[in-house]
């Protein structure tokens, strides 16, 4: 690379060449075009799928406009989460304070939309003008009799990960507030699935076939009343560990609920996610059912995958996604398709994630934390990748350079989790990598 930012060197390692541990969890460097967003974004995306809550963004118009209907999270009932509410602060409020506007907005929205609870997100400006959002929320809680939960998620106040933490703390306030409901035996919570393209429905169905019940999903197809009784589950099954481990640990401390980290991408990880739960409940019957389920699904899936594998064998992939845990699953899923990962990185991975990635990947694979377009395009060129897996911001980089792209971000419309998802994944990778259009790029 002709000129890489000096401060970035420690966040890039090549397996087989660099023995040092990768640096991560750092704030982005000023002036680098980081693919990360902010604290507010972290909180907003985690809570977004809770469909019967009011989500009000306290700030000028931008933060709400850019996060309107941003995730492909489906709800089987209410659709309130898909509306974008903001106090739309103007200069007047910035000078004289926005508390009255916030109070009025909350009162009128709650009266009219009758949400089960409300989340109020602070944006950068709130932290500066000193609105007492917590006091306003307390007052509205008192007056309206629903939980109005402030999230002090000012954008400058850390990284996206800090936003996850704040969102988890908000969920934690709700959990345990329903003491009366009774949940059946063998009940779990699913943490860190956001029901993109209906993935949660697929996963919950697998668990149901094994005889496992779901109390709450946080937050895919989420409902406030389910979250209130989440403490009654016997186990938390955590995907997207980057965002939800805080909550899992919190519930372990408070309620003694153990948690396990799983991934639903690729058949190995998906199957493990089922077996691990059966093992946890120490039920032979459940394990038997899980095995049958896996056998049944694989007997359909594996022959169907062959066609794609034949065409994708030996192709090279670059991965850059939000969470590192997803990257790990993707490396394995690509392997199942005969593909090799040559670049892998994430916005928010931690040391353990990167160590695991290093173990898993082949020699010469570039591993990177908090990358930017210049680096990513350089890596892709160096390694001759045929496919890029990432989000919207990475798509034009891939396309401009003439390589296939698979959207694995929270805006996707294809279910990629589970067995059915693995087949969709193969189809999508195939449709991009094997398209005839690339011949014109030469």
């Amino acid at each position: 690379m002709n000129e890489m930012l000096k401060g970035r060197k420690s966040q890039i390692v090549t397996k087989g060449h660099d023995d040092v541990a990768i640096a991560c969890g750092k704030a982005s460097i000023a002036g680098s075009v980081s693919q990360r967003a902010c604290v507010f974004c972290g909180s907003r995306v985690v809570l977004y799928p809770i469909a019967d809550a009011l989500h009000l963004i306290h700030g000028p118009v931008g933060c709400a406009a850019y996060t309107w209907d941003i995730r492909g999270s489906l709800s089987s009932g209410p659709q309130l989460h898909r509306l974008s509410f903001t106090t739309d602060l103007k200069e007047k409020e910035v000078v004289f304070g926005g508390e009255t506007r916030l109070y009025n907005a909350l009162i009128s929205l709650i009266d009219q939309y009758k949400p089960k609870a409300a989340f109020v997100y602070a944006t950068c400006i709130v932290g500066v003008i000193g609105d007492d959002m917590e006091a306003v929320c307390r007052r509205v809680t008192r007056e309206k009799g629903i939980d109005v939960i402030p999230l002090m998620s000012e954008g400058f106040n850390g990284t996206k990960k800090d936003g996850y933490k704040i969102a988890c703390a908000a969920l934690s306030k709700l959990i345990g507030t329903d003491q009366t409901s009774v949940v059946p035996e063998h009940s779990i919570n699913i943490l860190g699935d956001f029901n993109l393209a209906g993935e949660l429905w697929m996963l919950a169905e697998y668990y149901r076939r094994m005889g496992v019940n779901m109390v709450a999903c946080m937050t895919g197809d989420g409902r406030i009343n389910d979250i209130r009784k989440a403490h009654k589950a016997q186990l938390n099954v955590v995907q997207c560990s980057g965002s939800m481990t805080y909550l899992a640990k919190d519930m372990e401390d408070k309620y003694g609920i153990p948690f396990m980290k799983v991934s639903y991408f690729g058949i190995e990880d998906m199957s493990d996610a089922l077996y691990e739960v059966a093992r946890f409940f120490k039920s032979d019957e459940m394990m038997q059912k899980a095995r049958e389920l896996v056998r049944e699904e694989l007997s359909k899936l594996l022959p169907a995958l062959q066609e794609y594998r034949a065409k994708l064998e030996g192709k090279k992939a670059a991965i850059y996604v939000g969470g590192a845990f997803k990257a790990i699953s993707l490396v394995k899923a690509l392997r199942l398709l005969g593909m090799k990962t040559v670049v892998v990185g994430s916005q928010t991975g931690n040391q353990d994630d990167y160590n695991l990635l290093k173990e898993l990947c082949d020699e010469g694979t570039i591993i990177v934390d908090d990358s930017n377009p210049n680096e990513l395009s350089e890596f892709v060129k160096q390694t001759g990748a045929n496919l890029f897996i990432g989000g919207v911001k990475e798509r034009p980089i891939a396309f401009k350079l003439g390589l296939g792209f698979c959207d694995h971000n929270h805006e996707r419309k294809e279910a990629l989790a589970g067995y059915e998802g693995m087949l969709n994944f193969a189809k999508e990778v195939h449709a991009s990598v094997c398209s005839p259009v690339w011949k014109f790029m030469k």
Partner: protein, 486 residues
């Protein structure tokens, strides 16, 4: 376990009987929340304008999220890499000032991109804590060892003042204020196109070239935000208005400024004075005596005629035959299609100047502008619409400061025949079964938003064909038998 089986069923059928549509809720006078905003924030507009200056890398002076969200929003529309750097505020910079971050951001952008120009846009955060970006830039210049430095343009774009359109014009005006120089009058014209599509910019350039008029188009993101394929990654895409051209704006024969509202509105909630909202062309008139011709976007026969006649008059050249023929074909098609569109009721929404131009066009073909709405709050939309829509003026409902939920309510009650504007009203169209013609910004659910042509006779032609065919299709689809001839 709630509706689980139903969930699976839904997934397979892709239709969901259980999905509860959020009720349409009548907004009340004391309502203070914006619901599905029909506008964006100022730094987005400034970033687009900066992208239209050659070799320019925008830096947003604020939190990391601002740059990332804006990039994502623009990328989804333009389907192009859009690099925008951030000075990446932390809690510390918020308390002690963003100077250090600003300087680091400039240094890092220079070392990564070697830009010709750095365009700095401020945010609500940096403006509120009182950061003085011009001072930081001077600081940087004083402290750096670098021998060659980029040009700096800085625009004040707090998101609590106006909308993305104010940010756009503020950035263009800042570029001219900082760079333009006077001098002996040349033959060239300045064209300030406003926030239009890359295809529109190409169209304007073609027209000027066919007229053989020398011109400066500012900004010009016709290439930077609509690139061909690349052999290798371009850190800065090719194209854009060169800085030398911006310098020459002060010695132009005249300026043509497209759009009549621009950033001239009252800027609701603004405490600072309105003098801040000078446009580039106004500045050039005041400072260098460059005469200014302000007119609506050339969309529709009347407004196109105005544009072409002004070009002809300023250059002393005949309108090229090509355009006379385009005009003739457009009017011929108006005749062919007039019955299918007459009396239909349209809702037009989006940026104010586009809403004015679209309304004028619809008005001249006999479509009733039932509602003209914008999230912009200039307070001038109504006057401009009445001015440029001479037919049945009194029947047009005009709304400044509207959001999509207000448009939603209005449509549910008034049942218009067609929606015309950006892709964000799709959910309204879908729920109420009203056809929608997508144009303007953003187009997030289709490809080709950057290639939509709105301007000139051919741009109008494309919109006319689309709108007419959409109305024909909607009648054909709902007919009991369907038919093979119209």
């Amino acid at each position: 376990m709630r509706n689980l089986e139903l969930g699976i069923w839904n997934l397979k059928l892709k239709k969901n009987a259980m999905i509860e549509n959020t009720p349409i809720i009548k907004s009340t006078p004391e309502y203070t929340a914006t619901r599905n905003a029909c506008k964006l924030c100022a730094p987005l507009g400034a970033s687009v304008a900066f992208k239209g200056i050659r070799g320019c890398v925008p830096i947003i002076h604020g939190g990391q999220g601002c740059a990332t969200y804006i990039r994502r929003y623009l990328i989804s529309h333009y389907k192009e890499p859009v690099d925008i750097a951030s000075s990446n505020f932390t809690e510390e910079s918020t308390i002690f000032g963003g100077g250090a971050n600003c300087l680091a951001a400039i240094e890092n952008v220079i070392s990564q991109y070697q830009p010709e120009v750095i365009g700095m846009a401020t945010t609500c955060l940096s403006e509120t804590i009182g950061d003085d970006v011009k001072f930081y830039i001077q600081n940087f210049k004083d402290l750096t060892d670098r021998e060659t430095l980029p040009h700096f343009i800085s625009a004040s774009t707090p998101s609590y003042q106006g909308s993305h359109i104010d940010g756009f014009h503020e950035a263009v005006a800042s570029a001219v204020k900082l760079i333009a120089e006077g001098g002996e009058k040349g033959e060239h014209l300045n064209i300030f196109p406003g926030f239009v599509s890359p295809e529109d910019l190409r169209q304007i350039k073609n027209i000027l070239e066919d007229f053989t008029i020398p011109y400066i188009l500012l900004p010009d993101y016709s290439e930077t935000l609509d690139n061909p394929i690349w052999d290798s990654y371009h850190r800065i895409p090719e194209g854009g208005t060169p800085i030398e051209s911006v310098r020459k704006c002060g010695s132009a024969r005249a300026s043509i400024e497209l759009g009549t509202i621009l950033n001239k509105g009252s800027l609701s909630g603004r405490v600072k004075n309105n003098a801040l909202a000078t446009t580039a062309a106004e500045y050039l008139l005041e400072s260098f005596g460059v005469e200014n011709h302000r007119m609506p976007l050339p969309l529709g026969v009347s407004n196109c005629d105005h544009f072409f006649e002004t070009l002809s008059q300023l250059s002393g050249k005949e309108i090229p035959m090509k355009y006379t023929k385009e005009r003739g074909r457009l009017i011929d098609s108006y005749v062919d299609g007039h019955k299918y569109v007459f009396g239909k009721r349209a809702v037009v929404y989006g940026e104010e100047d586009l809403v004015v131009a679209l309304s004028a066009f619809l008005n001249e073909i006999g479509i009733e502008v039932a509602l003209a709405a914008s999230g912009g709050e200039s307070g001038r939309l109504e006057d401009e619409i009445r001015k440029y829509c001479p037919e049945n003026t009194s029947e047009i409902t005009v709304q400044n400061g509207y959001d999509y939920e207000m448009i939603h309510e209005w449509c549910a009650e008034n049942k218009p025949d067609i929606l015309i504007g950006n892709s964000k009203a799709y959910y309204i169209a879908r729920e109420l079964g009203i056809p929608i013609v997508r144009c303007g910004f953003p187009i997030h659910d289709r490809i080709g938003g950057q290639r939509i042509k709105h301007l000139g006779y051919t741009g109008t032609q494309e919109l006319f064909d689309q709108i007419t065919n959409m109305l024909i299709a909607s009648k054909q689809d709902s007919s009991a038998v369907g038919y093979k001839y119209m």
